[in-house]
Structure formats: C-alpha cells, structure tokens
C-alpha cells in the first residue's frame, strides 16, 4: 500500500493525521457549508451584515417552505420526468448495442464501437443548431420528450462503451454452452447475459441519473419556461425572481442538488464503479 499505512508510524503522526482529516474536509467543503449556513438565516441577517456569525434566528423551516411554495417543486418534478425516462432509454439501448458489439464478431464491429466512443467526446456545441432545429421540426421544442430523446441518443455513446467492455469481460463459454443447447440468440441475451449485467446496469443508471439531472446546456437550448424546464435551468429563473435574497437562493440550490447527492450516497459502490471504469487494468 502507498503511502505507507499510518498505523505503522509513530503515535504523534497518527494523531496529527487524524486531526488533519476533519480540518481538511472542512476547508474542502467550506464554500458549500457557507451556503448551508445561509439557507437557515433570516433575511435581516443579510441587511445588518451578519454573514458569518451565528444566525440571529433559525429560519430553516420558513426558508425552505418558501422555496417549496415557489415554482421550484414544478421544476424538480420536471427534472424527474426528464431524468428517469432517459436513464431507462439509454440503459436499454446500450445494453442491446453492447451485447451486439461484445458478443458477435462481424465486419465493422470495431468501427461502430469507435463511432460510439468518438461521439461521446464531441463538444455538444457542434450538435446544438441542428438538434434544436430537428426538435423544432418534430414539434418537440419546449417539451420534456424532446429533451429526453436527445439525452437518450447522446448518452447511448458512453453507455455502449461501458456495456460492451463489461460484456466482453464475461466468460464467453456461457454463450457457447447456450448455443450448443440450441437456445435462440435473443433468449441468450435475455436469460444469460442480462442477469449477469446487473452491476453494470446499476452503475450506469446512477451515473446517467446524475449526468442528466445536472445537465444545463441542453435544458436551455431545447426548453424554456416552467412547463418543461428541469431544475438546473429553473434555478436561474429562481435566481432572477429572488435576486439578493440569499437565504432563499441558498435553500433552493441545496434542494436542487439533493436528488443526485442522495443517489450517490445510496448507490455509492455502483456510482464509483461506473465512474472509474478503465482506471484499473
């Protein structure tokens, strides 16, 4: 193990390390903690300049309920209606594509695979004008469906890379054995490969959830207004509505950030497995 385990060093080194940990964490998360502190202050604290002292009163409930009485809940609901279908769509499409690319040998296999990888690196901006146009033409501009369709298509690149590598690492004998038994190919996918892919499916689902929840660019390109916009875009209009009302803005931001954070803490193992794909050989 590197660096050398701290248990093997002197008592003072151990104590120093143990006390440095919380200190470092406090520094690292200071900007966020500041916002959390803002979110429980009364607005008078901001007018009298009490930014960093103890809040003159604890207004957690009133601040957060004010946020819930704004358009915030609508935006958050939109985010869910955009994120969940995208996760299902992208994961299913890429599970199939990954199966095709990971199991079968055919011409263009590697070419198609690399096409998916390459698309994944592309700067979104090159897609912006045509995709916006396409969405308009389909009559899906400013709808959640329009946003979902694009997200599915774009995320399929990354997901296929992930799925294909995962499937390729499965023992091929399983498929051969099934074929010898005369099992149809689609049944091999459904009954042999899919059950083995559960960890990959879980990892991708949490990752895509976070990516899509946090998307801002496409939200402002393809939607406007309360009807379809997710919370990342909503928070900017919230920003305009509550300009300089820092306590409400802070509370709003924290609420907007909560679902992916909860997802991360609940599914940590899968999340990190997905994110660090390829970091170890």
């Amino acid at each position: 193990m590197f660096p050398a385990p701290i248990e093997k060093s002197s008592r003072t080194a151990q104590i120093t390390y143990q006390s440095m940990l919380p200190l470092a964490l406090l520094l690292w998360l200071a900007p966020l903690l500041a916002v959390a502190l803002f979110s429980v202050r009364p607005d008078t604290d901001f007018t009298i300049g009490n930014y960093w002292g103890i809040p003159s009163s604890w207004e957690m409930i009133s601040n957060y309920s004010q946020v819930f009485n704004s358009s915030m809940p609508k935006y958050i609901l939109n985010s869910f209606f955009i994120t969940i279908p995208t996760v299902i769509g992208a994961v299913s499409l890429s599970a199939m594509a990954g199966f095709a690319l990971g199991i079968y040998k055919f011409r263009f296999n590697l070419l198609i695979f690399f096409l998916f990888i390459a698309g994944n690196f592309v700067p979104f901006q090159i897609l912006m004008v045509p995709v916006r146009d396409l969405t308009l033409d389909m009559g899906l501009y400013n709808t959640k469906t329009g946003l979902v369709l694009f997200h599915i298509a774009f995320q399929t690149g990354f997901c296929t890379l992930f799925m294909r590598n995962f499937i390729k690492a499965l023992p091929f004998e399983l498929i051969e054995a099934a074929r010898v038994e005369g099992v149809a190919e689609w049944r091999i996918f459904w009954f042999v490969v899919l059950p083995l892919m559960k960890p990959a499916l879980a990892a991708l689902a949490v990752l895509i959830f976070t990516f899509i929840w946090n998307d801002y660019f496409w939200a402002v390109v393809l939607t406007q207004g309360e009807a379809a916009q997710p919370v990342t875009a909503g928070i900017t209009s919230f920003n305009a509505q509550f300009r300089a009302m820092y306590h409400l803005m802070s509370a709003g931001s924290l609420i907007a950030a909560l679902p992916p954070v909860a997802m991360f803490f609940l599914m940590q193992k899968h999340f990190i497995a997905g994110l660090t794909l390829g970091a170890v050989k």
């Binding site: 964490l25 966020l32 199939m96 897609l127 801002y216 991360f264 660090t276």
Partner: protein, 297 residues
C-alpha cells in the same frame, strides 16, 4: 422465413440489437455534426431563407472578430489550468489512501462536489467570491490583502471561474486515483521498500507507472471538461465583464441564440472550430484506445 432466420441468426442478431441505438445515435449525433459543417457555410437566422456565403463566416472569425480571439485564449487557459485537477486529485487521493476509522465517509465527502450540478457549484462560488460578504475576501483579508472583486475584474474573472471548476474536477480525479491506488501491486511496493525507495522517489518510479490507466482517464475527462465548460461561465459571469470570460462554447451559444437575432451560420462556424480543436484530442484518445484493443486480441 423462420428457418432462414434460424440459419442466419448469428449474422443477423447483432444488427437487430444495434439498430435502435444506432438509429438514435445517427439521427442526433452523427448527422448533426455533418449538418453543422454545412450550416457554417450559410448566413442564417434560423427562420428565414439561408443564404450561402461560402467561407465568409470563417474568414470573419479568424481575421476580424476580437471576441473570438478572446474566446480561443480563454479556452487555452482552461485547457492549461484545468489540468491542475490531475495532480490535485492525486495529492488528495494520496492523503486519503489510509485505512483509519471513518475514512470511507471522508472519501465520499471529499468526492461530494462532483455530484452537485455545475449550476449550484457556480452559485456557491459566486457567493464565495462576493466582494462584500464572500468567504474568499475574508480569507485573503487575514493575510492583509485588500478585498478584490474576482468576478468583476476582466483580468481575474476567468481564473476565478476555472478555480470553481477545479473544485468538482479535482474530486473526480481523486476518485480515479483512489481506485487506481487500490489496485497497486503491494508486492512491488514492498520490494521497492526493501530496496530503500520511499517518498517521492517511490511515487515517481513505482507508483505512478502503475497508475497510468487512471492518469489517462483523468487526462481525457479533464480535457473534455475544459473544452465543454459552459455552465459555470453562464451562471457566474454570463461571459462578462466586457466579454472577458467567454470561451468558444459560450460564444457559440451567444451568437446562435442571441437576443439581437439568431446567427446560426456564424455560431455553427464557431462550433466547427471548437470541434476541430477537440478532434486533435479525440484522435489521440481513440488511437490510444485502439492500441489497447489490439493488444487484447
């Protein structure tokens, strides 16, 4: 029909499984790239008739557009300084790669900034830099430095935003390195220790070579992140002050969907240039991955 399918199943099935994903991908990713190249040759407001202007958009961009120059320079700054996330992430990973009690929670909490949306990160840092109440000025005040309005200063604003971006990006690199460190071969480390290697020497000659896959991925995601930077700029300065924090992706958005009329052709030309810059990196990444694929066969 069914017997024919049964005979050729192995040849046909992969295509059946590929069609949905490929159809979506071609419609929304591959074809639009080609379209963007085409649109960039036109003058078009997005509604009326597009007028063919050949290379005029590019000519204007490259010779007469000061804002474009600023954006390219800022993109370069992003590329260079954003890479600090890699050593930064490695440093934190080394700091946290212990087995003391509660370390797992520490690791998760250090990773935290990556999970929140860049919009929230942007807001958080806007307040962090705020000249009247920001924590930043409080901190530098301790060292006797006069308050600075980071985001209001054209010279400093871009660096301020990059620093905000480094916060989640460093967390990402950290998690990559933590996973990498986990897989470092303990026998090699012990052998090197017996040979008297330690500290920086050990890190450089024994550990880092084993972390190469993690470093490669950290490099890929950081470069892509740097060239895609948009959210933070949009929320923290909206390109200002005086357009000093624009980058290509932001400038492109601004031109295409500007409130003074859409200039889709011009925007597409900016996007094409951004794409070409990215292509240099994409080719390198793909080449590296292709080498790996060949190696596995």
């Amino acid at each position: 029909m069914t017997t024919w399918y049964k005979k050729n199943q192995i040849a046909i099935t992969p295509w059946l499984f590929l069609i949905p994903a490929m159809a979506m991908f071609v419609l929304y990713v591959v074809y639009p790239i080609a379209q963007s190249f085409n649109i960039s040759l036109y003058k078009w407001d997005g509604l009326g008739e597009a007028e063919y202007v050949g290379m005029a958009n590019y000519e204007k961009l490259l010779t007469r557009d000061r804002a474009f120059n600023i954006s390219v320079w800022n993109n370069l700054k992003w590329l260079v300084f954003y890479l600090a996330a890699i050593p930064g992430g490695l440093f934190i990973a080394l700091f946290l790669n212990q087995t003391v009690r509660g370390i797992r929670l520490y690791k998760s909490l250090f990773f935290f900034p990556f999970v929140i949306s860049q919009i929230v990160v942007g807001l958080v840092f806007t307040w962090f830099y705020d000249p009247t109440f920001g924590l930043f000025n409080g901190i530098i005040g301790v060292f006797g430095i006069e308050p600075v309005n980071v985001l209001g200063d054209p010279e400093l604003a871009t660096y301020g935003i990059i620093a905000a971006g480094l916060w989640p990006q460093t967390a990402y690199c950290m998690i990559l390195y933590l996973t990498g460190l986990n897989a470092v071969d303990p026998e090699q480390v012990e052998a090197a220790r017996l040979d008297g290697a330690k500290g920086l020497k050990m890190l450089w000659y024994v550990i880092l070579p084993q972390l190469r896959p993690a470093t490669f991925i950290a490099f890929v995601v950081t470069i892509i992140g740097a060239l895609r930077s948009f959210d933070l700029i949009s929320i923290m300065t909206n390109g200002g002050p005086f357009g000093s924090t624009r980058v290509l992706s932001f400038y492109m958005f601004e031109k295409s969907l500007s409130e003074y009329g859409f200039r889709m052709g011009y925007g597409a030309a900016i996007a094409v240039i951004l794409f070409l810059i990215m292509l240099v990196f994409i080719s390198y990444f793909l080449w590296r991955m292709y080498q790996d694929e060949k190696g596995e066969r």
